[in-house]
Symmetry: D2
Subunit: 358 residues, 4 copies
């Protein structure tokens, strides 16, 4: 029972991979916001399957319907419900796992926890659920855009192929120009080749999505438990296949001394800045006005087109053979999910920050 995210801008998602569809109810969107429906569709298109040979061949239009909350083009302050019908289900592809547990999937744990599961396409555990997050995230981004806040997520590593450039040398207008969603075309090409090799091996590969939030004002984040990076971490780790999260210097900080790690303050034209940004834009759980930078690592997709040892639901040994349509690498499609979740976190804290001072 945790299909709701957010405290001020609350989203509740529902739906299964092979049921009637996927949906989201947004409770807490401020009234009076002009909603750009085309932008929502654009965001959904970024996430949808079948975009290139690097991603699953399931073809879903992911066209959404507005069920409530928008009147004459504007939010009314009442719940906004969006629904994305499923259309291209091939449930028969999944009959083989009705009684067998795929390794490193949620089949076993759902079955044990609930005593029942909709096995078709992974049911609720399918990454298809994230379409609802992307739709809600699009509205969150529209609010943030009105405040000058911009989020740039991109693939920074696939397997061992790393984007080596510094943030200041990246041109984010290039991220969407290649199927990998890496803002450096040369690295993107290498990543694409690597993914395609892996695909031909009938295997899968992981990687890292990095994210930078520009224009975040000072003051977002709520100590002590809802620190901004703690909430970002939770949001990212709630995405399917995410295995780790780091803010700013992250795991690199382990080899640094305090004297090198500390970000000195200075003032430039009356604006407080820091000379370095190892903090990743957050100090004491609260944004400090610098760019927020974080990374999310995604494991290799669990579904591989190979036979694997496993067990059935009676505990007998069984072979699971890869079927269905799956991504050899989740990274390209993870980018719009990461930025959607970042937007949902930021808009939530942006609203909550209205409560702080008398």
């Amino acid at each position: 029972m945790s299909n709701t995210y957010g405290k001020a801008f609350k989203i509740t998602t529902f739906g299964e991979s092979h049921g009637p569809g996927i949906g989201v109810v947004i409770d807490g969107c401020p009234s009076g916001l002009a909603i750009d429906l085309d932008h929502i569709q654009t965001e959904l298109d970024r996430r949808k399957p079948g975009q290139s040979k690097l991603t699953t061949q399931r073809k879903e239009p992911d066209a959404f319907q507005v069920l409530s909350g928008i009147f004459e083009g504007k939010s009314t302050g009442t719940p906004i419900a969006l629904f994305i019908p499923n259309e291209n289900q091939k449930s028969q592809d999944y009959s083989h796992i009705a009684h067998t547990f795929r390794p490193s999937h949620a089949d076993f744990t759902y079955q044990e926890k609930y005593g029942i599961r909709d096995y078709r396409g992974g049911g609720r555990s399918s990454a298809r659920e994230t379409a609802a997050r992307v739709a809600a995230g699009a509205i969150a981004k529209q609010i943030l855009a009105s405040q000058g806040i911009r989020i740039e997520a991109f693939v920074s590593q696939v397997g061992t192929i790393k984007l080596q450039k510094e943030i200041k040398d990246l041109d984010f207008s290039l991220t969407e120009t290649n199927p990998v969603r890496c803002p450096d075309p040369e690295t993107a090409e290498k990543m694409a080749q690597r993914i395609d090799e892996i695909r031909l091996e009938r295997d899968t590969i992981g990687g890292i999505v990095s994210c930078i939030c520009f224009g975040v004002p000072v003051g977002l984040g709520e100590p002590v438990f809802d620190k901004l990076h703690a909430e970002l971490g939770k949001a990212m780790l709630s995405i399917n296949a995410a295995k780790g999260f780091q803010i700013g210097s992250g795991f690199q900080s382990v080899g640094m001394k305090g004297s090198a790690h500390n970000d000195s303050f200075y003032t430039e034209n009356g604006v407080v800045k820091t000379r370095t940004n190892h903090s990743g834009g957050i100090q004491g759980g609260i944004s400090n006005g610098q760019e927020i930078t974080f990374d999310v690592v995604f494991k290799p997709v669990a579904t591989i087109m190979q036979d694997q040892e496993s067990i059935d639901d009676e505990g007998n040994a069984a072979i699971v053979s890869g079927k269905g349509r799956h991504d050899p690498c989740v990274l390209p499609r993870a980018v719009p999910i990461v930025d959607a979740m970042a937007a949902l976190v930021l808009v939530d804290f942006w609203l909550r920050n209205r409560l702080v001072k008398i």
Copy 2:
């Protein structure tokens, strides 16, 4: 406004570093639990300052008072309030930062967010707040112990000094036998030396706390947003100085293929197990019965005994000189905080799991 953690076993902490004290209210502790008060004190003693030359020399007895919720040695189902008076404050040590912002501290962000801050010892942003978490975590551990769940946190890296042994080769009874809290005495000694060197340099250093949870039953964790590792991640990232979190293979997974990363199921004496545990004991956000393994990285402590460039609260350049009593390395004292937070997460999901089936 986020001083509450948990949904079923809810803790609300309060208090500042140099105010009357630190406290916690636990709402949702089941009734009928025999509470071992000595164990709570033992846990507080593990976190308290002044334990060795590796930690701050502030001397706090951290003796706690029970204000409510326990009757004749047992929990009654009503809120349990615990209070830890502050005794060894030296607030004058902090007058120099009343109007100056320490680099990489929360001084600036608190001031900007709230328009006011209790600067003495960092006020609410002080790691002293975690004493309340440790006290509550001790009760959580008592519940978990009754269910056969055991948590082992330990320092696995300080600077570049890494614990190299595998989990199965570690003897956790040794963790508390050295001031670093590393279960391998030889590595612990190297870490201690390194910390002492850094202390003499008037600098600080970071590291990694690893944590293993034994005996966690299948089924804990609530998809889709409150996945077990997402909540563990949030809990850990809410600890002062934490910069990153990974579950199971974590950032290592980036270089692995799916065929190598997947954890095959098999059955042993009727119990479902996996041949590897790259999942870190969690699949689809739900515990799978294997050991839960995760890591938390802590940055070098921001307070260093050196002069640093900064600004005052009017934006003028200022020098901040290290004063007060501080840890050269937060890691040894972070161990009891990590395991306390892990216990709070697990007990919360253990209770929530009671709601799942009809």
Copy 3:
């Protein structure tokens, strides 16, 4: 932002009177429950408009769709989303109130609070929203029925016409046999006549719905703020047109002495009972095993088929003329809403009570 009700069995409703439809997402329905879809429809039919001349002539089939959460006839533990398309909107009936505020309606307050409102049929403030509650309540009732808990709501007063019989003399199988939903056919007939008279006067009238919950076990309700009767009160007062709530002796208690009001305990065949039930089945906010009895008063419907003085949205005096299709008395259709809300409250506490003991 409060379209969610419940803490363990959480419902989130959405939708407007003249938008695409009305829906509800249930998060927290235990898995493994066989869901009777026909029963849900039966409950919706009890609430739907156009049932008799005593109610509005809007004709809505109120046929619902299952969007998620049910697999092979059973709940899976994932969110259950139900959607009821609107079909018989006559939005042109409402153009006259696009810029005018109906007296004692929500037009003015929504406009002021949100700066925008969907005026068609009252938008979100329409009692049509309660269809979603009734659908969710039907599932709650199915759970309660499995536990031997039964809820009987009925009209006990219309204007000055009161049902005079005691609970023990009522035959609840008769409630649904008359359009008023009073279990005493003779009184029901008088009430129906009274409502019809009022209808012909182009006016409206209020009344009282009483409710009795049988079979509620000891222990439901959570002190101190979520006392069972406090939560029942909130749930009932959240229904459109409700103006008051009383538990057990309620406002009658004011004239009684403690010695007469107290409910003496005794034991009968090992079961604890009380000789009277002025407590209405709840003591200290917790059910005591006796029947839970409460009353809800509903004001006369605000929409009357008469001209009324009011203002427009620029503050000018204006005449509002009754149009559209409305109920002369909300009571008969309030009955299924009252029992749905009672079911939602009880099932929520029934689940929460699983958390109480170690």
Copy 4:
């Protein structure tokens, strides 16, 4: 587990009647509020026992301590913890109910729900818990006062003795001039006599507290479930001994027609007003700018100085004899609790209303 109230201005109370004391943690008080500690004490003094012969003779100074959250006289945005030590416990007065259940008390239900109870003075179920609400309510009132919002609660009925004057004829400066807290001295005198008669009969009596909130701006209250009057209802019904709640016309509305009940809008000097106020200042769950008026009925106190039939915790018949120090009529001391809870509700919605518009 429901010791927290409020969503933006959250209070968590703890403590038992005969434990170390009673406390409250306020999470969400905006920063920068000058806190008047004397006013908090004044409010506590209004609620404290032993004020006159009309109330219990337990003598508690109810002096409170600030444990956190206030720095240099102002709120800092961190949790404000207040603690009121118990001093005048006479726990031995309660040994007779260690194994016996007092009629219409919470002894039986707590024992059954939790399997254990602190029987001394009723433990957590004691009205002593409300001291914490009054302390928190005082801070809420200080915020409301800064916004021009004023709350006037008073006793309007004791037994059959009713205050007959209309609101406009009442002088609220007189409420605190008599021990009953009725703003009409003549009626107050009659009520006091009645209470004293009842006291001499060793019996108890109930009554009604009415409350009027002046200066509430348009827009407070959150549809659909957290309607302002629904939340007020819950807050009031959570007070010990409360049996009913009505808003505006309340139960009187049952005999009215819509044409008489509707509150016509008009404009006076550019301000929207209504000619009548049967709505009690709330329409569609949102404040409309008129005075908010409601009533709460309290049953006669359950503890009477007479022998009563009951059972012990083994189900055997037992006689409960009234002992301890109790109020013959809870009404006078209920007044400050009602206005404290009203303040907590209003301040919570006042804050939440900041989230509504873009």
